[in-house]
């Protein structure tokens, strides 16, 4: 039986996360010998399907292109997955808000206990995943006939491009009179996506207010970085929710993470401690963030950040 990967896409583009999920699927396939299909569900998604067909290791792209899948609402997406699932041993999606929204519906209707945010494949039925904000790593084994899994993209290196999968239409159309899309306010930014940026500069409560977050722009510009934040900075209204890094926000693992005015609560560290190099700028030398920082700079961020921008 094959493995199905639900493609992640936004604004007409295949999201980076999909190539990482396919990488996890390939590791499972090494144990089970299965083919990998990618499902692209949405409205007007032909170009996305083409992009998915180019991912290495994908045998077939299945395209469900219909208005009911527009905005990828969980109810129709879940029903579509249920309709297709009998052909598969595993169904995978990114641990994104889209994947988290839809996959548990499939799992529940198939009587399967979903395995959330795997970080390693041990075998076709055994996986590692962080629990308790990443303070423990659980190895879990599923005896369910269908494995429903979300994948932490940062834990798997993306597959390359250069594949040439076949593309086939799926004509299953489900009904949805339960939920409807009203609107969305998406963050507009020229910066790289937080989840896949090579450098991330994050600000916390120490930034003081939203206006001061502009201080981080200069550093981020020089480093081509994405900007993130702690929960405290989001709660205080300094920056929008999509910038929150942590246990219950986004997970990042860039080459360089610079934490500015962030104390280093376990919930924040859960989202960034797999970064290659961590820099902390904080005036409190006792701040827990220094315990994970490769380079700590103790002092007032309002002096140090402008100086850093100048010297980069």
């Amino acid at each position: 039986m094959s493995i199905l990967v639900l493609a992640e896409h936004h604004d007409g583009h295949l999201a980076e996360g999909t190539a990482h999920v396919v990488a996890a699927a390939r590791q499972i396939a090494e144990h089970s010998g299965a083919d990998i299909d990618v499902l692209v569900a949405g409205e007007g998604v032909a170009a996305i399907a083409e992009a998915a067909a180019g991912l290495e290791g994908v045998a077939r792209v299945r395209v469900a292109d219909h208005a009911v899948y527009g905005h990828q609402l969980a109810e129709p997406l879940g029903d579509l997955l249920v309709a297709l699932a009998d052909d598969y041993s595993h169904v995978l999606a990114a641990g994104s808000t889209t994947g988290k929204n839809a996959l548990p519906r499939l799992a529940a209707l198939k009587g399967t206990q979903q395995i959330s945010e795997i970080i390693a494949v041990v075998s076709a039925d055994t996986f590692k995943r962080p629990v308790y904000a990443g303070n423990a790593i659980a190895t879990v084994q599923s005896a369910d006939a269908l494995k429903v899994i979300t994948v932490r993209p940062t834990a798997f290196d993306a597959v390359a491009e250069g594949g040439s999968a076949s593309v086939e239409a799926v004509d299953t159309v489900v009904d949805n009179d339960l939920s409807s899309f009203i609107d969305e306010k998406l963050a507009q930014s020229d910066r790289p996506e937080l989840g896949s940026a090579k450098v991330v500069v994050s600000g916390g409560r120490g930034m003081g207010n939203g206006e001061n977050f502009k201080l981080l722009d200069g550093v981020a510009d020089k480093l081509g970085a994405a900007i993130g934040a702690s929960r405290a900075a989001v709660d205080a209204g300094f920056v929008p929710n999509d910038m929150q890094v942590g246990q219950t926000g986004k997970i990042v693992a860039p080459d360089l993470y610079i934490a500015v005015g962030i104390s280093g609560a376990i919930q924040h560290m859960a989202g960034m401690k797999d970064s290659k190099i961590i820099v902390a700028i904080n005036k409190d030398e006792e701040a827990p963030i220094f315990q994970v920082a490769d380079y700590g700079l103790v002092g007032d961020l309002f002096e140090l950040v402008p100086e850093l921008e100048k010297k980069l």
């Binding site: 905005h71 889209t98 548990p104 190895t139 009203i182 490769d294 140090l304």
Partner: protein, 250 residues
């Protein structure tokens, strides 16, 4: 309308956990336990709906060991009207919890059910979505605002790209995100009063539901520790180290 809230007993979010020496699980002996923070937000939202006259009754439900009654009493102190405890000593994961909750939904027929988006022990983020699927109801996950509009519910959702607004036909399921509200603390007189509020206990067997986890926990290990680094004395030294030692900038 009747509102059900699901509350889970979990380790207090401030506690740093330890893994048992035999790597069989996390060690929860003598560890401070509390209501899952996202469930506190769920209770708060339900109580606010009642205070606004939108909700007529708030019922708190928990599936877990006897001690989970402490968290149900907390929910009652915060303003829930009655509580239902599904008592079990099994290791319950999201599907088992969702099955038990679906049974309660079938019996109680609430117009709205509010859950946390994620339990901070398993970090699963599944139960609300599963419950919605099992009961055939729409879901508004990761909610940062909800508004009842006649026979539907408008939900603003925190999604990766920003905020999304959806409309759900009631009855519906909502899961809470951090910005939905700021939960209140229980006051002493309310804690006293909560002791007299009704708390019913049942078992999964008599409800006819299977709650034990279908996943085998093979082992639990501590994560790889990060080596603490060095304190640098100046911005110049930092830039030099990033360039020449870590080689992460050019």
């Amino acid at each position: 309308m009747k509102v059900l809230v699901a509350v889970k007993r979990v380790i207090d979010y401030n506690v740093k956990i330890r893994v048992k020496p035999d790597n069989s699980d996390v060690d929860l002996t003598n560890v401070k336990m509390a209501m899952n923070p996202f469930c506190e937000i769920a209770v708060e939202e339900a109580v606010r709906l009642k205070e606004a006259g939108t909700a007529s009754e708030v019922v708190a439900v928990s599936i877990g060991p006897k001690a989970a009654q402490e968290q149900l009493r907390t929910a009652l102190a915060l303003g829930a009207d009655r509580a239902l405890h599904v008592q079990t000593d099994e290791r319950v994961e999201s599907l088992g919890a969702a099955r038990a909750l679906a049974k309660v939904v079938e019996e109680e027929q609430p117009e709205l059910m509010i859950l946390g988006k994620q339990a901070i022990d398993s970090d699963n983020n599944q139960t609300g979505q599963m419950l919605a699927a099992l009961t055939g109801r729409p879901q508004g996950t990761f909610a940062s605002a909800i508004k009842v509009e006649g026979d539907s519910l408008e939900v603003i959702r925190e999604v990766d790209g920003g905020l999304q607004t959806v409309s759900l036909k009631l009855p519906a399921i909502v899961t809470t995100d951090l910005r939905l509200n700021e939960p209140r603390y229980a006051k002493l007189p309310d804690i006293m009063k909560a002791k007299k509020k009704p708390l019913e206990t049942r078992t999964p067997e008599e409800m006819g539901v299977e709650v034990a986890s279908q996943l085998k926990l093979v082992s639990v290990e501590p994560p790889a520790e990060r080596q603490g680094g060095v304190t640098v004395g100046s911005v110049d030294e930092l830039v030099d180290k990033l360039k020449n030692e870590a080689k992460v900038i050019s």
